[in-house]
């Protein structure tokens, strides 16, 4: 029994950590592009911006459980499987990426317009503005955003359990729904998920307070 939860926790951590990394890799540049290319932005491309904004909104509107089914073929293509823990990383990353993009966008928008003008007055290129101004200045806010992303992915990953995604969600659903005599197992899985979320929030807050010099 102990092994069951250990295995479930490891599966969840595996799914969540890899999905977080992939969603950041996809969402981070998208979020940057959203801010850079807007009208009056540092690298204005208004047409492109509108399309990007639309695509991100559409992706964010799709309920996760449906997205998961929709990307079965893609999961199949990438990991040669459409269900299972590894396969679930594909829809999890895709679901979280637009969320990451929005978080990135909001964090960068918090930066004072004057600071960006200052860097332009120093003759910075777009790349230099990203490197020296946007990312360092938005970092605490980005970290707190990443905390939200991880917690969201933990939630999604539990949902993925319903479609054979493995992990703690899978255990909770299996025992909670199908094995009436062993409901306590569902509660144990639930408690572990709650603890995971709490620790992520705690660590995220600690890092943010440590790096924020504002």
């Amino acid at each position: 029994m102990k092994d069951l939860f250990l295995e479930g926790t490891i599966e969840t951590l595996y799914m969540v950590s890899l999905s977080t990394i992939f969603s950041l890799l996809m969402g981070f540049p998208l979020g940057l592009l959203l801010v850079l290319t807007e009208k009056g932005g540092i690298w204005p491309k208004p047409q492109f911006n509108k399309v990007l904004d639309g695509v991100i909104n559409v992706l964010r509107s799709i309920p996760f459980i449906i997205l998961m089914i929709l990307v079965f073929p893609l999961s199949n293509l990438i990991v040669q499987k459409s269900i299972g823990t590894t396969a679930t990383i594909v829809p999890l990353s895709i679901a979280a990426a637009p969320f990451v993009a929005r978080i990135m966008e909001t964090s960068i928008r918090e930066i004072d317009r004057g600071v960006i003008e200052m860097s332009q007055s120093l003759g910075s290129s777009v790349g230099e503005i990203i490197k020296y101004i946007l990312i360092p200045e938005a970092l605490p806010s980005i970290v707190s955003g990443i905390t939200l992303v991880i917690i969201n992915i933990i939630g999604y990953s539990a949902m993925a359990g319903a479609l054979g995604g493995g992990g703690l969600g899978d255990i909770a659903i299996r025992f909670g729904l199908y094995k009436s005599g062993e409901k306590h197992n569902m509660y144990i899985a639930l408690i572990i998920i709650i603890l995971l979320v709490q620790s992520v929030q705690f660590i995220g807050n600690r890092i943010m307070f440590k790096i924020d010099k504002k």
Binding site: G114, E117, S119, L122, S124, I133, E137
Partner: protein, 335 residues
């Protein structure tokens, strides 16, 4: 040398046009500390932002050190901006970076070697008097200290021109004085040209040698600071001067309350060494009553103002006023 010719800037929002700058012509000489003063909305900030094209002018021309900056391409402009430092009202420091990193920013952008950056930043911090704040973050500094960091950063690239956009407007009077002293020292020691946007005549009075007064996007008066203080031509100039000295009393003095003629005298440093008023009293058959007086210390000289009541025959009063004019005193009748 900075030459601004027929400069216009029109903002257009939702089909409504707003002329922020109208046909501005200015010549700013090397090593000037050139003040541009105006009330808020006068277009002065837009004007200074046109100089490094943070704002794109609608028409006209700007040449800085012989370079026609409006013809520069994107990349040329980016490189040219490195030669023009700029400081702002809100300091615009990187909040997540130390004082050191803030000052080093332009040098990082130049891809200078770390060792050289360190030497230069230490020198700059020493220059602005913040050596001990090297590892502090902006949130730990006072407003004046923040502006010093911003100034160190603005001169890190050894610019020829420094643009100051209301740099002292959010500082208290004492701090303002110390920041102005720093700017003056920089201008003197590094031989750079400073253009100061401000709404405080106090600032112009303290460090500028020339001043342009803007109203509604137009430069309505432009001259050396002495001449403007001595003999302001426009009402706005007078009211700006009034804001820094006791001239405000002039408003309280109502000519109808006096039987004699009220005149306002303005004189520059040299004239104040001669006992002109007493000579006037001796030479002409008039009585003089002093109503108000003040002396303003300017960057290079001092300007005095006197409000006198002249009592006597009209012809004698005319003669005494001519006498004053001969002595290089500006005379204005208050009516």
């Amino acid at each position: 040398m900075i030459k601004i010719e027929n400069l216009n800037k029109v903002f257009e929002t939702g089909g409504i046009k707003f002329e922020a700058i109208k046909d501005v012509n200015l010549n700013i000489n090397d090593k000037d500390i050139y003040g541009i003063i105006g009330l808020s909305g006068a277009g002065k900030s837009t004007l200074i932002r046109c100089l490094n094209r943070l704002e794109e002018p609608t028409s006209g021309s700007i040449s800085i050190e012989g370079v026609d900056i409006l013809s520069l391409g994107k990349e040329e402009l980016r490189l040219f901006r490195k030669k023009i430092g700029m400081i702002f009202q809100d300091f615009n420091l990187l909040k997540q970076k130390t004082v050191y990193d803030n000052v080093a920013l332009p040098l990082y952008l130049e891809k200078m070697e770390t060792k050289k950056i360190k030497e230069k930043v230490d020198l700059l911090l020493d220059y602005v008097g913040l050596k001990d704040k090297k590892n502090s973050y902006p949130s730990e500094l006072s407003g004046g200290q923040k502006q010093r960091v911003a100034i160190a950063r603005a001169i890190a690239n050894d610019p020829k021109v420094l643009l100051s956009d209301e740099a002292t407007s959010s500082l208290d009077p004492q701090t303002t004085v110390s920041i102005l002293e720093l700017l003056k020292r920089i201008q003197g020691e590094l031989g750079i040209t400073i253009i100061m946007i401000t709404h405080q005549m106090e600032v112009v009075k303290q460090i500028c040698n020339k001043v342009a007064i803007m109203d509604g996007g137009v430069v309505i008066e432009e001259n050396t600071v002495e001449n403007v203080f001595n003999n302001p031509k426009t009402t706005l100039a007078k009211s700006f001067i009034g804001s820094v000295n006791t001239l405000a009393e002039e408003e309280i003095i109502n000519p109808n309350d006096f039987k004699g003629k009220l005149i306002r005298l303005g004189y520059l440093g040299e004239s104040s060494n001669n006992p002109i008023v007493s000579q006037m009293i001796k030479n002409f058959q008039i009585e003089v009553n002093i109503l108000s007086g003040s002396i303003d210390k300017l960057q290079s000289t001092s300007v005095g103002h006197l409000i006198l009541e002249l009592i006597g025959e009209e012809s004698e009063i005319e003669k005494s006023m001519d006498f004053l004019k001969q002595k290089n005193v500006t005379v204005e009748v208050i009516e």
